[in-house]
Symmetry: D2
Amino acid sequence: MTAILLLSCADQNGLVAKISNFISENNGNIVDLDEHVDSDQNMFFIRVAWRMNGFKIEKKDIYSKFQPLAEKFNAKWEINFTEQKPKLAIFVSKYDHALQEILWRNKFGEFNTEIVAIISNHPDLMGLSETYNIPFYHFPITKETKAEQEQREIELLKKMDIDLIVLARYMQILSANFVSQFPNKIINIHHSFLPAFMGGNPYKQAFERGVKMIGATSHFVTNDLDEGPIIAQDIIRITHKDSVKELVRKGRDLERLVLAKALHCFLEHRVLVHKGKTIVFE
Amino acid sequence: MTAILLLSCADQNGLVAKISNFISENNGNIVDLDEHVDSDQNMFFIRVAWRMNGFKIEKKDIYSKFQPLAEKFNAKWEINFTEQKPKLAIFVSKYDHALQEILWRNKFGEFNTEIVAIISNHPDLMGLSETYNIPFYHFPITKETKAEQEQREIELLKKMDIDLIVLARYMQILSANFVSQFPNKIINIHHSFLPAFMGGNPYKQAFERGVKMIGATSHFVTNDLDEGPIIAQDIIRITHKDSVKELVRKGRDLERLVLAKALHCFLEHRVLVHKGKTIVFE
Amino acid sequence: MTAILLLSCADQNGLVAKISNFISENNGNIVDLDEHVDSDQNMFFIRVAWRMNGFKIEKKDIYSKFQPLAEKFNAKWEINFTEQKPKLAIFVSKYDHALQEILWRNKFGEFNTEIVAIISNHPDLMGLSETYNIPFYHFPITKETKAEQEQREIELLKKMDIDLIVLARYMQILSANFVSQFPNKIINIHHSFLPAFMGGNPYKQAFERGVKMIGATSHFVTNDLDEGPIIAQDIIRITHKDSVKELVRKGRDLERLVLAKALHCFLEHRVLVHKGKTIVFE
Amino acid sequence: MTAILLLSCADQNGLVAKISNFISENNGNIVDLDEHVDSDQNMFFIRVAWRMNGFKIEKKDIYSKFQPLAEKFNAKWEINFTEQKPKLAIFVSKYDHALQEILWRNKFGEFNTEIVAIISNHPDLMGLSETYNIPFYHFPITKETKAEQEQREIELLKKMDIDLIVLARYMQILSANFVSQFPNKIINIHHSFLPAFMGGNPYKQAFERGVKMIGATSHFVTNDLDEGPIIAQDIIRITHKDSVKELVRKGRDLERLVLAKALHCFLEHRVLVHKGKTIVFE
């Protein structure tokens, strides 16, 4: 088992020394360490992973033992353990490619997660959920029922103690109330290279503008549509020969890969958020 | 010597046959042919290159001989010859990297062009022009003198019978009057993946948005800033470690390559424009 | 319905004209045409697609009507129709990712094919075949039974009139006899950027060499292992942090995409083979 | 001014703590830290950068003060300072593109280096050297004079106390004797994605194999031709349309970028070598 610390605070002398001393003095061996100093903002960010094998502090006591140090730095922090799989809920509508990709990769052991729910406003992907033995929850949504249904979703998610929500081409805009319940815990895939082509029909927008590449962007959801902190993005080249239909086909590959990458990074506790941007320790 | 036809018209049966017959009956051998049918717009686009060696029509007579056929199709067309190098004027301000790249590549024989003028609102790059023996014209521009100076530039460019103007990080916005004199004859390089980050300081905009890649876009200049038909674009990945200064450094490589690619395509007569978009026959 | 001609022959004047006349005179409208002249080898290659709607020659008569023209050129050629789906057999062993990808894409309508058989030397992927309702054939292979089992496979494939065989991480080397039965009809995916890291364990080879990128290559199978004509290849960047296990994980994405691309090109009749190399009209 | 430690040793508990304590106790502020643990080889690699402003140990004393710690770890290590520019000698023959690129980037301030010599077996690039005011040394080499001329080069390089030699398309193979004088101090650019297409004429080899991409690789020179530790590599896509001449043209861009990247990493002290492979802390 490995412990992973994610921490951010105002930059100051001795941060790495104090943190690595805490680990070293308790007989932990650091297997991975990455840090970033943002000189403009005077901020310090770090991810440290160390083996729990032989570590003198028991897992259950680590929080309380590390707490005093973190308080001295006035830090935002969390410690996770590789044996604790974050709980994931996937929101979908009718498209199956992003869901299929996540389920397939998870079966292959690529993701450090337990998928506890697939939630949809349509029943279409129930069959796929069953193939992979994941509970499927159907919450049909109309303009009238949206607030109420979201409330039921929130209750379900809270009850299941969800760590992450992934919108795998979920075709509903979440309300401000919903989003506020899960800050930096909702990841979306948008099928354009943001900030270009925000909003609906980005492939059509891209076709009409005549760009020579299309993209996909995975980002945290905030209340500003398609403006949340970006975790991963990529592009592929297109030409004048590509119709909108071809863009949709080629874009599906990107959506799958970019979402998978963002998810992989999050589940390995590699992502920090600060002032609308991410630090991704790859 | 090779002749290159670029033609567009409404789609109809027999276009390829008639065009290739014209070439074949006059004993021309096609060495390259690429066509595109846009079914939505019912448009036909073609680029055909054939060897003039053995061709029964003399170069000077080709226009008049092809004219009747083109009229039947109601086509927009041009025929160019590899031995006739398009005349190029390069606009610059103070940054030398894009200019340096063009001059260097041209010396290496990469571009089918004759560079006849380097025009600048600043004197800084005169030395570089001299190294490559290209006439340098200095047109200082203030708010008050802009209209007048542009008029002088237009006259100079017309007198030199310019085929293409490249804005190699020229830091002035050309007036609508200037642009209208050279439709689809002015190529710009913008240092972002358009349509994202239009206008000034795109690297700073990119940094502030927290994107995970930066781009460059080469496009024809129209009177809508950064909205002209896109010829080429590309990106490179960045991370949270990259400051604005690093983006500028990394972006320079992209700017040089993307502009060079657009220029190369144009000078080989591979670019057609239709309704705000390009067809690039690579 | 669209007809697609693939043709190659020695280069000579008038080829495009004669071929496009044949189409035009019979009232066909060309929707896509791409050609390539290899001046070194004096070879001509073309792909032409035209609408059969309104074409004066019936589908069943096209071969005999085009035959005389092709004979004049001494051409190698074939004509296919979009409504005729090539029949595909997929060979697998135990890894499911390449198979899963093909089945998933096919269900999504990306491939112009009918998958008629999944053939394996192991029973492991029978379940996946059943999910997609594709007949699964299990041919266990030992050193002693190889010749005999391959003979049975050949008979099955001939009986089903297979157009293409895809080796989707099939972990057996096909015998020279087998390969000779299906010239340019067997596509393999090799998990390296060929010609580097031929043979077994390419990811381990890559790790040991310390390359900064890994690749995947899809190629036609010939009797020289991993030396057949290359259809598609791509790479992704890696770093010193990537263990062999990480290379395997990252490489899977490449394998899936590169094989899918090669397959897509073949099934749209975009691939010609000449002297150990491919012409891919994308 | 920033101090940069590069260190490698057998992995053991407390390495990061001890190193960061050394810095912290002397009032240094770490601005960048990257480490890598190779569990297979039980090796530890680290790069740490800290501000010398306010650091209690003077620059001239750092070596002796750090020495005891490094000895305890039995480490291989070096400490460099940003204000000390590594001295670079560039070897060229007749091609100017790689040289031009380095000189141009250096003028632009991209490289942390002092270029002290351009050494060539041909006089062709003397003019370019003069433009940039770099001393040019001409050592014509024949089979008979090679040993003697190399000896003179070695003496010159030793006298100038060179930190790095870059072979910018130098068309001579350095002797084992020469190479042994500068272990991990000679960087070459090879115009293929190694280990494919080693040796001469890689573009021709690539063309003949029919690959769908070409590459460039920058690596340390060892006595096994094109088999030294790889620092950077990249590729671009090509098609059947590209002649060898086109590959040369397109490849030049790659060569320039990949060599520049390797050089940039080395000059910022980001490269460690261990058992034929590199760790590049980007």
